[in-house]
Symmetry: C2
Subunit: 421 residues, 2 copies
């Protein structure tokens, strides 16, 4: 049996439970010292590999690694860096191999979403394209819930829980004030292209009249007249209206209703501010007093409100990734398979990475009610299991106890520097 070191890195937007996946990877690797030497984490994702900025996770105690289960954010840093094709930037691949060789890295675990799966796929081809033997396993993570094959992406269930609970709580607030003051509450949530997160708000309500009264999905072209009619009806019937709007809401020309004007390294537009825009529109058209909130990072970092189901899945995909590597696999991703809705039963299967990378799944059309403003029973059956269980962190003096790793750097072996483009 050969023995190699492993590389693990976090990529893209972080979540409340991505560190639980890190714990799954590292704890499982530690059970196999005969096969896996050290787990080196990339500082700031793949950039850590390119710059030979590796973190020695073996310097962390078992307790510290276990505490990653209840610590939000990305413990080793993350990035939104996408490798170009071999043809376009061969130097990058040569550098990676140089670093991997120098540190005897035979396993590559990349923890991210669709763009990261593409990076991972390119790494998995290094033995073929560049003659460097490596096993690359992609480990799913994204609050956007847009990876194919897997039933759900770890990170999503906790955002879903946060959004459902926050929608319910804020609705009780606005309801209290609605007959005498504020009648409309708007909550803006994440979701650039798909309305998964907005849909989760629908779990706040169980029957007619319950909030949220209007969900604005990126999948449904915004029609101001129909929207105003719906808001007016909700206020007349319930005294108030809770609106949940996805940041990715678009008008009939396909333009985002709110566009902060900047783009990230993947070319995505940085969005934000459709919530206040919608609120102001309601005030102008209907005269209702409003309040609005934009949850932004709060929704994806709220480890205090994480879903136990999500946490379990996040850890398990980490464990499964290592087991797949030990079984000799390459270019695969552990995916969650749903076996039943209630009780929710699931296991982990192996997804071929070339069927994952750069494939963005949409929310099924039949998750949205015919009027375009709510979720169907089918959506509810899908979503509800994902928010089950409360994964309460430990608390000390009124605050959650989140671990801060030492993140000790592995001594560099290469003489050359490399600047990622």
């Amino acid at each position: 049996m050969t023995r190699h070191n492993a590389f693990y890195a976090q990529s893209g937007g972080v979540t409340a439970v991505i560190n639980a996946t890190a714990a799954g990877v590292i704890e499982t690797a530690r059970k196999h010292p005969d096969r896996i030497g050290k787990v080196y984490a990339g500082r700031d994702g793949i950039i850590g590999a390119l710059t030979e900025d590796l973190i020695d996770t073996s310097a962390e105690s078992d307790e510290a690694i276990a505490a990653l289960r209840h610590t939000p954010g990305g413990a080793f840093g993350s990035c939104r860096y996408k490798l170009k094709s071999l043809e376009k930037n061969r130097a990058e691949y040569e550098r990676l191999i140089e670093v991997f060789k120098a540190h005897d890295i035979g396993y590559f675990f990349y923890n991210g979403g669709g763009d990261s799966a593409d990076t991972c796929l390119k790494i998995s081809q290094l033995s073929e394209t560049m003659g460097y033997p490596i096993q690359a396993i992609h480990v799913p993570k994204t609050v956007d819930n847009d990876l194919p094959i897997t039933d759900v992406c770890p990170g999503f269930g906790s955002v879903a829980k946060y959004v459902a609970v926050s929608t319910l709580e804020a609705s009780l607030d606005v309801m209290s004030m609605s007959r005498t003051s504020t009648k409309v509450f708007v909550l803006e949530v994440m979701g650039r292209h798909a309305g998964w997160i907005a849909a989760a708000a629908g779990l706040a309500g169980k029957q007619a009249g319950d909030p949220p009264h209007v969900i604005l999905f990126p999948e449904v072209e915004f029609d101001q007249d129909r929207f105003m009619a719906k808001v007016k009806q909700a206020v007349e019937e319930n005294t108030y209206c809770t609106i949940v709007v996805s940041e990715g809401l678009r008008d009939r020309d396909g333009n985002f209703l709110s566009d902060a004007g900047t783009t990230d390294a993947f070319g995505h537009k940085q969005l934000g501010g459709v919530g206040p825009r919608i609120a102001e529109m309601v005030k102008t058209e209907l005269g209702y007093k409003y309040h609005w909130a934009v949850a932004d990072y709060l929704q994806r970092s709220a480890r205090h409100l994480a879903s136990q189901t999500d946490l379990d899945q996040a850890w398990k995909v980490g464990e499964a990734a290592v087991e797949m590597a030990l079984a000799g696999k390459n270019a695969v991703m552990p995916a969650i398979r749903r076996k039943s809705d209630e009780p929710y039963e699931w296991d982990i299967i192996e997804a071929p990475l070339d069927q994952v990378a750069n494939v963005e799944t949409s929310m099924p059309e039949d998750f949205i009610t015919d009027d375009g403003f709510g979720i169907t029973d089918k959506a509810r059956r899908y979503l509800e299991p994902l928010i089950q269980g409360e994964a309460w962190p430990p608390w000390h003096r009124g605050m959650p106890v989140y671990v801060k790793l030492d993140n000790k750097a592995v001594p560099r072996k290469l003489k050359t520097d490399f600047t990622p483009s």
Copy 2:
């Protein structure tokens, strides 16, 4: 011993624990059936009294009333209605007496902040001014934490906990991304006149370099140059900067920054909050990529993250209000007295209502560090006890279980309607 019914109402912005106070009032009243008949709740605060829209809380089970302890929002509805002086609107007082007489109301419990204390004080004077015998007790509640005499206002501790925890969690998120992407996170919190809530964010950090790196208080005139220098320094020293800004931030002319009515780079009217405004300013001046969140109602309705200390105090002021009434008191408010910081020890004392009504307390100047961007050890000693303990609600199928009362109306006895002005 005479026996009368009691009137209880909620006033002003609601909180995560105002219903716990309602439970304290109703549960304590139920222990004294010889003295207190029924507790009638005003639907939508004092408006319910003026319109003879009373809720019969005796129709609710003990279990339902107990569940108010863990249910956010205002269970009976609230309002922002302030009684005018007797000289200016004598008809209102006559109407109140008419309603109170019709329903044999001898005790008046009003649960609110400073404006509500003024209303309560006017009611307490009815026997003197109008010859109607009533005992009026004000029950403190406000996330603004600006009532005098009491150590803290119930509702504030839970907002403080929410803001401190959210600041910590979002900071772990932005920290993960900061070396490669987003460097600045801005969280806008409530507090139009005083920086109590913004100050609570300071509990997220314990030592130099911890977030939040900048707190913008309404008490400190906004100086853009000094602010930018501070943000730049924080990013250079820590790779990221977490900014918590109070909605009440003002410029050197005393204008709210949120009222600025400016347009963004695209010619759109700048909508809403000071949070996005500050973020955009940082981007323009320093070029840092940002994210921002506006917590709005989420912060004051987040019962899932309530402080146990706050909850205990909220219930206790309700109990104490009834006990004061039974002891024959009028024109008083149960206030919390701090006996020691650590361990936090407190009891309830009696505050004369005329020393409470219309007196708005400020945050002490020495709670803010000399540079104006942080909290002092003194502030920490004051704030930390208030967020202690986690008052977790019960959960079912992934969601908190919040009670919905029947709110059965008391049959009207008066023939005349009344429209509050």
